[in-house]
């Protein structure tokens, strides 16, 4: 069994069975952390290119390690030091990378749809590592993996996502993935940061934090993007912290075995307090580890067969 898609652009592409396949495969890949030799020979001779137009530490490092531990040759291509500065277009850059033999292109870009554009332009397989405020499917998969690992299941769980839902590609991908796996999704945040129409997708919307985390199995805190504050979407950071910041006091009212997650990088003391990140119920550090395992699984599942036979969703 493999993923019958040329590219991974949106989590909406994946069926429940395919998501389960990715998570099961990641479980086996995660064992690499316990081994003296952190190397599988699986992707020898394959070329993985990280094409990053936006700053990223953990996603790029995570893909780089995943590729290297699977024995692929990994090339990092950072926009600020490349011919992008000389005016090369996105699809030209992608075609250049294809001509250099890239089997898989991992792309992060500030514009929604950038990954789709690249996927249409090249025969290489494309993984969306975040396109603007649109989607971040690999982050959502690693979050699903972390929840399943800690809770033993996804079906029937209540997951609360807190923060800037409107601009969050992580939230968008998570809502798709969690709903598909049978979890109940709640979102909480100021009305200006919650997109209209979420209720129609079965999501429960809260504007106060306390009722949103009451009875939740998982609380997933999003990074507050400080640059949004300048646009007047919420009055002040201080007010945000007072209303939505996840503190130890607020956590005391949640379920005793609640799982706390944050996709990183966190603004400590803003959306989440330092002592909550370090709490035993927090999986923030482990999410990073799981990210490598999930990306190893994806690289493996997207390396088989002949990409030309697979339909591009781009």
């Amino acid at each position: 069994m493999s993923l019958r898609h040329k590219d991974l652009l949106s989590l909406a592409q994946l069926s429940r069975e395919e998501i389960e396949l990715v998570l099961d495969t990641a479980e086996a890949c995660k064992q690499i952390f316990d081994r003296p030799v952190k190397k599988f020979p699986t992707l020898r001779g394959k070329v993985v290119v990280n094409l990053f137009y936006e700053a990223s530490t953990r996603t790029r490092t995570s893909f780089e390690l995943a590729g290297k531990w699977m024995s692929a040759d990994v090339v990092n291509f950072t926009a600020s030091t490349s011919s992008v500065m000389k005016g090369e277009s996105l699809s030209d850059t992608a075609k250049t990378l294809e001509a250099l033999g890239a089997d898989i292109i991992v792309i992060r870009h500030r514009s929604p749809g950038a990954a789709h554009l690249v996927a249409r332009a090249v025969r290489s397989r494309v993984i969306n590592a975040g396109d603007g405020a649109h989607e971040h499917p690999t982050q959502a998969l690693l979050d699903l993996f972390t929840i399943r690992e800690k809770k033993g299941r996804l079906d029937g769980l209540t997951v609360t996502i807190v923060g800037d839902i409107l601009h969050s590609r992580v939230a968008r991908s998570q809502i798709i993935g969690l709903s598909r796996m049978g979890a109940r999704v709640r979102v909480a945040g100021p009305p200006t940061l919650i997109p209209a129409g979420l209720e129609q997708r079965g999501v429960e919307v809260y504007h106060r934090l306390e009722p949103a985390i009451d009875g939740a199995d998982v609380i997933n805190v999003l990074r507050i993007q400080r640059e949004r504050q300048a646009k007047g979407l919420f009055p002040s950071i201080r007010e945000y912290v007072r209303l939505y910041g996840l503190t130890r006091e607020r956590l005391a009212a949640a379920k005793e075995d609640v799982l706390v997650m944050h996709p990183g990088p966190a603004n400590l003391g803003v959306e989440i307090a330092q002592d909550v990140v370090e709490d035993p119920r927090s999986a923030v550090r482990e999410q990073v580890t799981n990210g490598v395992a999930v990306r190893m699984a994806l690289l493996y599942l997207m390396s088989g067969g002949d990409a030309r036979e697979l339909q591009s969703a781009g």
Binding site: M1, S2, L21, D24, T25, E27, A28, C29, Q31, R35, P36, V37, K39, F40, P41, T42, G45, K46, M70, A297, Y300, L301, S303, G304, G305, D306, E309
Partner: protein
């Protein structure tokens, strides 16, 4: 695919497993540093059965591990469907141990090659031995088994199918032809 002949029944499989267990004990002069590692899928129940026999013979338990070789296969880029990866579960250190790899059928030797690589990535065993229920010939690599349940001459057009109670609900080895 049609069945041509049954080459082993439940009793013959049981006797072969018993004999291999005795041979493992004899060849290693006891089982002090011996560990069995079954190759998924059907090597695993075979390894467990051998371990149970060894315990009967020697009065001491012989630990069993499970090896998944999917990520070490040499044909991943040529086959259309990626095989499903399962966990490797080896609850002991392989360092300086005598590891007996257990599989159902030895054919081209490519599975054994992948298993050797997978095992060596986990540490440095003192020695690795190979035990198989059926050796059907047609090696493509310089690999041989140390312990064999039954040698079966076959043609490449035939398929040797091993059914085990734990996986398939019945104990039987049969030859099928395409």
């Amino acid at each position: 695919m049609k069945a041509k002949a049954e080459i082993m029944d439940a009793d013959q499989i049981r006797r072969a497993v018993t004999r291999i267990a005795h041979e493992i004990v004899e060849a290693n002069k006891g089982i002090e540093d011996v560990r069995l590692v079954g190759i998924r899928t059907r090597g695993v129940p075979l390894a467990r059965r051998m371990a149970a026999k060894i315990e009967e013979i020697e009065g001491a338990a012989c630990p069993v591990g499970v090896l998944d070789i999917t990520l070490y296969r040499d044909d991943l880029t040529t086959i259309a469907q990626q095989p499903v990866v399962h966990k490797t579960e080896i609850p002991f250190s392989v360092e300086d141990k005598v590891i007996v790899l257990v599989d159902d059928v030895l054919y081209t030797g490519r599975t054994a090659r992948a298993a050797l690589d997978a095992l060596i990535d986990l540490g440095r065993p003192r020695r690795i031995q190979l035990a198989v229920l059926v050796d059907r010939g047609h090696r493509e690599l310089p690999i041989r088994a140390d312990f064999v349940g039954k040698n079966v001459p076959t043609s490449r057009e035939e398929v040797v199918r091993v059914d085990l109670v734990e996986v398939d609900g019945v104990d039987r080895v049969s030859i099928l032809s395409r």
